[in-house]
Amino acid sequence: MVIEFSVAVENDGVVPVVRVSGEIDVYTCPKLHKVLTEVVDSGKIKVVLDLQNVHYIDSTGLGTIAHSARSLSKSEGQLNVICSRPQVRKVFEISGLSSKNINLFEEESKALLA
């Protein structure tokens, strides 16, 4: 069964949380890119990206996330990614992005506080 892709921003607290569900691939990535760009361009210093309900991510999704992380780091900001699924973490690790300016967390509370 394919879980429908969705992306939404929660601005309830100090740190905006971008929550994504479904599969991030070449088809759905433009929607993620649009939302992440809006959040980053709004001037936030720290952004949390919740991928706990993402079952699949490919190179286009990682490229978009890396682009946002680069933009944030230019203004001394940071992108904290919540990612608990082993297969999704594996993709980040192979890409080498998790050792750069993207911080991976398994729990939301830690991603918000870091």
């Binding site: 070449v26 490919d58 297969q87 192979i94």
Partner: protein, 145 residues
């Protein structure tokens, strides 16, 4: 000895069809007793080959991508082929190279995933004539024998 069965799929070179290929990969790999982790690895690798074709082969124009799955006793062989403009694999930047533009970064990263997650891969691409990505994942029996 009977010939290994082959499943052929042709999709339009459009982004919304790449997910269809992933569903096919899941069904085919499940028949071959791959573990869930191995099936996910194959899904990523095959999907990346299709994504490369969608993004780079036809320059945004119409075209098709042919995917052939051959179910050998000891391995799954997947060939992803397009008839697009091709590229020089040497120009695809490393996934870890800084300063690359996003399109080249994605291409390099996709190739990194294919090489890392499959047991064998090769890419033949001739400018103006298209690209063929061939990859193999050994079955659990072949790996442990």
């Amino acid at each position: 000895m009977s010939q290994s069965p082959t499943v052929n799929i042709q999709i339009p070179a459009q982004s919304d069809f790449v997910g269809v290929v992933r569903l096919a990969v899941s069904g085919i790999a499940s028949r071959m007793n791959f573990s869930i982790d191995e099936i996910e690895d194959i899904k990523v690798a095959v999907s990346e080959a299709c994504t490369n074709a969608v993004q780079h082969a036809y320059g945004g124009g119409a075209g098709t991508i042919d995917i052939a799955f051959t179910l050998h006793a000891e391995k799954l062989e997947v060939v992803v082929k397009d008839s697009g403009k091709g590229f020089d694999p040497a120009n695809a930047v490393s996934a870890k190279q800084d300063g690359a533009n996003d399109a080249l970064f994605g291409l390099g990263l996709g190739l990194t995933f294919i090489r890392t997650l499959m047991d064998f891969s090769e890419i033949e691409s001739v400018p103006g004539r298209g690209t063929v990505v061939r990859m193999i994942k050994n079955t659990p029996v072949a790996t442990t024998a």
